[in-house]
């Protein structure tokens, strides 16, 4: 890659934000997803609805929260409800358009591991675990996954299956009780993967400017299919970077 004046995180955040539409109801976790949804809100989607699992509906934070339950979220929300209500009345009821997920590992069918590396009973690395992810994965109308691509994270076989994507593919998800459409977009530091309509295997559909698709293939632990007509994701616009950096700057100040 050539020298760029923005980071991989910024590129991924901007690319993901562009996928969100005005009025979209987003279930967001802390970190990059929170930055994505707030960036979209400040740019092109002023009426986007942010739901944090801590219980805030319609939060409009001016600083990026460090934790999912910062006071800023409650103070700017349309409603503050209990966590059981968030999961039952809002997520499970099918009111969430897009759920954002991260993970330590993803497989070719978009299934996710955020639980352990190594065996569950004797892990080499104990990860934080499921949190809201499994039910976001099954009950949101669709999910977007944001995850940097490497052979360690894009793996042939998950060490643990925390959150369902398309299961074994080929329609397997539809035979479960999962209600939403599953991972319809995976945003990486190389580009955008989407499921193939038949096998539901993730394919590289678009790359960022000046990214070699073969580099993405090499960063993937399974033989990654590349779309024949690969699209190009344009680099972040100055305005997108400005707004994103202001968001982060306010967070650092507010720390």
């Amino acid at each position: 890659m050539k020298h760029r004046d923005f980071t991989s995180d910024e590129m991924m955040t901007v690319a993901a934000a562009r996928l969100l539409w005005n009025g979209c109801v987003c279930f967001v976790g802390i970190g990059l997803p929170s930055a994505v949804a707030n960036l979209a809100r400040l740019l092109h989607a002023p009426d986007i609805v942010l739901i944090y699992e801590s219980g805030t509906i319609g939060a409009r934070p001016t600083v990026l929260p460090l934790s999912i339950g910062d006071g800023e979220l409650a103070e700017t929300a349309t409603a503050v409800v209990s966590l059981p209500e968030i999961f039952a009345y809002w997520l499970q009821a099918g009111r969430v358009d897009v759920g954002f997920l991260g993970a330590a590992q993803i497989d070719r069918f978009g299934n996710l591991n955020s639980t352990v590396i190594g065996p569950y009973e004797a892990p080499t690395t104990r990860l934080p675990g499921a949190g809201g992810a499994p039910e976001i994965a099954s009950n949101a109308r669709q999910t977007f996954v944001v995850l940097k691509q490497s052979p360690r994270s894009f793996v042939a076989d998950l060490d643990f299956k925390t959150s369902i994507g398309f299961g074994a593919g080929h329609g397997a998800r539809a035979r479960t009780g999962a209600r939403g459409a599953g991972p319809q977009a995976v945003i990486t530091d190389f580009g955008l993967l989407r499921p193939a309509s038949d096998t539901q295997e993730l394919q590289l559909m678009a790359c960022f400017e000046n990214v070699d698709p073969q580099a993405a293939v090499r960063a993937t632990g399974w033989p990654l299919r590349v779309a024949q007509q690969l699209e190009v994701i344009r680099a972040p616009e100055p305005e997108e970077l400005r707004v994103l950096r202001e968001l982060h700057a306010r967070r650092l100040k507010g720390g």
């Binding site: 929260p65 460090l66 999912i68 339950g69 059981p84 039952a88």
Partner: protein
């Protein structure tokens, strides 16, 4: 009926070795002061229950209070790992920790069932999920109308639930404001309920639909200003995000952790 006690007395009287206890509060109102008192009183063999173990259980686990943990997300929010939790799971230090692992939605349903006097909670969840294989508590029922399978979790009814809140009045009625998490459900699910509060007032300044726990469901109340620090209490003090970041380095090393706990918890006044 709520009894006002010192924190030391409340823990001494109500928290016993080997019990299941839930110290709830989702990011907000985490009852750190109560946890520190439990650590000072050297309780052991506890089955700790909490959706997000957070620093509070990282500290209790690292100090050897726990034999088991029921939880659904065990990280330092926005920062990274809980190294004391990881050390217990990965290396059995200072002692092994049995995990009863759930999802947030599962634990929310389990607390709600516990608060509701139901033996189990019901949810659309745990679909094609590895937790089904490692947690035998996750089961299924069939819907008597649609024939669908739905996930079940057993009700959580801790021996003792502990929460922190903004205020209590003279009758022990407790006011919670802001982000609620599963605090009310955990509180009502407990066989006993201990509450620490920022302040005690003559009358709660509430609005009609404020979240208030009546004093007659509270076993004991202790006034502990800043009792949720380094988490926060809406209207009183903000979350100390810098401390959460600093904990990463403190918690990473056994020695540094023990030194920190010794200075800041064991030798601190109750």
């Amino acid at each position: 009926m709520a009894v006002f006690l010192s924190l030391r007395e409340a823990i001494a009287r109500h928290v016993q070795d080997g019990q299941s206890i839930a110290l709830e509060g989702f990011t907000h109102l985490i009852p750190f002061a109560a946890a520190h008192e439990i650590i000072r009183q050297r309780r052991t063999g506890l089955h700790l229950i909490r959706m997000t173990p957070d620093l509070i259980y990282d500290q209790m686990i690292g100090m050897g209070c726990a034999r088991a943990l029921t939880f659904s997300w065990g990280g330092n929010p926005g920062v990274g790992s809980l190294y004391r939790l990881r050390d217990a799971v990965e290396n059995g230090w200072p002692r092994p920790l049995a995990l009863h692992e759930h999802t947030h939605a599962g634990m929310a349903a389990a607390y709600t069932a516990g608060a509701s006097g139901l033996p189990f909670g019901l949810l659309r969840g745990y679909i094609d999920n590895g937790l089904n294989a490692v947690n035998p508590d996750i089961r299924r029922v069939r819907c008597p109308y649609t024939d669908e399978e739905l996930a079940t979790v057993p009700a959580i009814n801790p021996d003792v639930s502990i929460i922190h809140a903004q205020a209590a009045d003279g009758q022990g009625n407790v006011l919670i404001q802001g982000i609620l998490g599963a605090q009310k459900e955990a509180a009502l699910a407990g066989r006993k309920l201990l509450v620490t509060v920022e302040k005690v007032v003559e009358r709660l300044d509430t609005h009609l639909n404020s979240v208030v726990l009546p004093g007659w469901v509270v076993s004991a109340i202790a006034q502990v200003p800043r009792g949720a620090y380094p988490s926060y209490a809406q209207g009183f003090y903000a979350r100390d995000n810098e401390f959460y970041k600093a904990w990463d380095a403190i918690g990473k090393s056994r020695e540094r952790f023990e030194r920190w706990m010794d200075v800041n918890v064991l030798r601190a006044a109750a």
